[in-house]
Subunit: 304 residues, 2 copies
Amino acid sequence: MERVCIVGAGVIGSLFAGHLAHVCDVSVLTRRKEHADALNREGLRVSGKSERHARVSASADPEGLSPFDVAIVATKASGLEPAAAALEGRFSEATVMTVLNGIGAEEVVRAHGDWSIVSGVTFMSGTRHSDTHVEYILDTETWLGPYEDTPFETVRDIADTIAASGLKAEALPDLRPAQWSKLIFNAAVNPVAALTGLPHDPHFAQEVDPTNLGHLVHGLVDEGKAVATAAGIDLHDDPWEMNVLATQRGSAHYPSMLEDVDAHRQTEIELITGSIVREAVRRDVSVPLHAMLYGLVKGKEASW
Amino acid sequence: MERVCIVGAGVIGSLFAGHLAHVCDVSVLTRRKEHADALNREGLRVSGKSERHARVSASADPEGLSPFDVAIVATKASGLEPAAAALEGRFSEATVMTVLNGIGAEEVVRAHGDWSIVSGVTFMSGTRHSDTHVEYILDTETWLGPYEDTPFETVRDIADTIAASGLKAEALPDLRPAQWSKLIFNAAVNPVAALTGLPHDPHFAQEVDPTNLGHLVHGLVDEGKAVATAAGIDLHDDPWEMNVLATQRGSAHYPSMLEDVDAHRQTEIELITGSIVREAVRRDVSVPLHAMLYGLVKGKEASW
């Protein structure tokens, strides 16, 4: 793993690029040409939990990409399909790792090529200050696992390189328990934040009065767990405990789905809540609360 | 019914005051002193479906109220308790009629006095242009019924006077079937509008794709009907049909709960969804969708 291509230079992509550039050659595929130009001109700065200033070779045109051994796809849900299409036909020996919210990103990538695929889920967070400056806020782990018949050795190599770059990473023989824990957590928290306007604060864990939001979040978690059980997944972490712990940290996280709503952008509801609803239909599990949030967030998107 | 006091001069109160002033003496109890001053100075103008210019005697101080035979309480939910408290100890021979959204306003009034009480539900709508000008938009009916042992004769007298003033009114021996129809309709539409930002438009009746909002609204209506059935109420109109019909009118209604959310004002969620949730608990009926909307709108209020 000497050449890494980061596909999508939002917060997560930039954190990978800024760190990995100190142990590998890093290229970045951006959506906007100005973004690529700025990165080529100024490099990429990471502040916060790490201080880095990385040289990267960026392009908005997939024709301009240098060969790579590993691509890390870190787009938003809405950017996944075009990103996978941009990689189609290129560097078939490479491994493609996905680190999107929700589940199902691997299938979208697979539809565009025969690469080895590694599933990823990250708990890092940060704030984007500009095209060339990202602040590293939560220095939590990224977990990786094999997708289909990708050898575990490949997964471990990537995890080792990520760890060598200064980020936290762990290779797991089966990522689905962790992916599902995070999926259920995100599906219980993000749409509720998006609809109420609340950041992920202690309201989400409060269950004192009957109207407290914690009941709803708990109900969503219980529905999600029922779907995971029906799908044969033994969760890695309990999503309700993840929720309680996260609301006890000092500053409330501002979920990206709430940012999307504030900016009247398409949200990640399809990959998050949509994944749970579709799996529930497949497994014949009743998820009225998720179905409701799905409809409400879709309705909100329709109001713009 | 020669002297009527309108308590709360929002859209509905102003429509009653502007029309009734042509057949009765009308006094108005406002929340703000400037509002009372403006009404005393300029009178009250109604445009739209009716054209009226009424002289009214207004006061923001209940001590300044002239005696009345009938008080029509047309405040928002948040203004009900102070309005009932302002009437306490006054004109015990009078009849008090409530025309708030939701159910339960009569109990709040009863806690402040022994007046005969008449229950009302109105389908009128309008737009408030200023403290002294309201536009009459939907000239639909107001329905009245006895509360506790109020004689039906009293109800009919008030309905006749309202009709004589140029508004549409009907006295019903039992208002609860109509109140519950409107309650279920409002509980299915208003919070969904408040959370999505959509006015009451055709999205609310659409049930083509699984993500369409109509499924959610339909699910809410079904929960509401189950509560009504458990409470022994035989609905006057089917709330789903009310929803479909309303979305087929030319211009989409902008529900007051969405206006409240836009203005970061406390909403009527307690009297509307709260009434259904409380009745469901009492009757041991499961209403997960209503409980969820209740929590979400409460969360939204908490985010301000």
